[in-house]
């Protein structure tokens, strides 16, 4: 005679602390955080991890992850990560940066960390605006998109064009793994997790610079409900920021995850 028993399908990752995130309801920053925590559990990295929080809505990352962390000046996370990794070569160093942080004020630091082939992993959250400061235009803001500093919609003639960070960084020889993923639905969230795992593998194998760009929602500043926000991402961001692998070093291509 058979018996049934209950198995645990999913639970909160151990690499999270008890703290409640400061993110707005439905903000997919939370999903990105969760994926990292899950991977640190699954890959058994907690004791090796050193996170570098940036300045943005994720500034308090160190409150939510249960491993070592530092907090970087706006845009300088890759420089701090460089300083750490050069001394702590056996640790896994991860920066977590928003689009304003990484590709506006931090352009110099990310480009040079990539071209130096720094053996670090960068998680790049592209939500087309400056969330923490309440929705100003970011380098990633889409043409015509309204923000608090592009009140008439981003006019590319006066305010320039969005930067496709993954595409730009992929031109640098030092970059080994540069991809874009999205967090707007279960399928893409699964793919995003695989990419982050790959990026961490790249670092653990000492193969150099890895970056995963994640398309993310900002319901609050977009003025949408979380569900509407995922749809907006799908309709407006995906066409401009195609999901894909922009740079995969031959040695990286051999890695199976």
């Amino acid at each position: 005679m058979d018996t049934t028993e209950e198995i645990l399908v999913y639970q909160r990752p151990k690499s999270f602390t008890e703290a409640v995130t400061g993110f707005c309801p439905g903000c997919t920053h939370g999903v990105a955080h969760r994926l990292i925590a899950e991977l640190v559990d699954e890959m058994g990295l907690r004791e090796k991890m050193i996170g570098v929080a940036s300045v943005g809505c994720s500034v308090f990352a160190y409150n939510f992850f249960d491993f070592d962390f530092v907090q970087a000046p706006h845009g300088r996370a890759p420089a701090m990560a460089t300083g750490i990794k050069r001394l702590m070569t056996d640790n896994v160093v991860l920066t977590y940066q928003g689009d304003g942080d990484m590709i506006s004020i931090g352009t110099g630091e990310i480009v040079h960390a990539a071209t130096r082939g720094e053996n670090i992993t960068v998680i790049f959250i592209n939500n087309t605006n400056y969330g923490m400061t309440a929705g100003q235009m970011a380098p990633t803001t889409l043409p015509g998109q309204k923000t608090t500093t592009s009140p008439f919609g981003r006019d590319v003639e006066m305010q320039g064009y969005p930067i496709r960070a993954a595409e730009m960084l992929s031109t640098l020889d030092g970059a080994s793994y540069v991809v874009r993923r999205s967090l707007h639905d279960p399928k893409n969230i699964r793919l995003a997790k695989k990419a982050i795992r790959m990026a961490l593998e790249v670092q653990m194998r000492g193969l150099g610079f890895s970056m995963v760009e994640l398309l993310s929602t900002c319901p609050t500043n977009w003025g949408l409900t979380p569900i509407e926000a995922t749809r907006w991402l799908e309709e407006h961001m995906l066409p401009y920021y195609p999901i894909g692998d922009y740079k995969v070093h031959p040695l990286v291509a051999e890695i199976k995850v």
């Binding site: 049934t4 639970q11 903000c27």
Partner: protein
């Protein structure tokens, strides 16, 4: 017969974003219309039978606050083993 499952939402973390409600293939999650959490949100909750324990809600939950269980049928001997 589809597998039977259930979810437990830790209301401390739930912010009533409704992403799980939207994602659930079985449409068995809703935001509790009555209760309000200490932080002022209507929390997600399992509203009727039919959860298969697929875990999709957990995949989209930004607050990692859903615990998912599934009933597994297993043969006697394996129990002994």
């Amino acid at each position: 017969m589809p597998p039977k499952g259930r979810i437990v939402v830790n209301e401390l973390y739930c912010k009533g974003c409704e992403l799980c409600v939207e994602a659930c293939p079985q449409d068995v999650i809703i935001l509790d219309p009555v209760r309000i959490t200490a932080r002022g949100y209507h929390p997600a909750t399992l509203v009727k039978e039919g959860c298969t324990g697929c875990g999709i809600c957990a995949i989209v939950c930004p607050e990692a606050t859903i615990v998912v269980y599934r009933e597994a049928v297993r043969a006697r001997q394996s129990v002994e083993a």
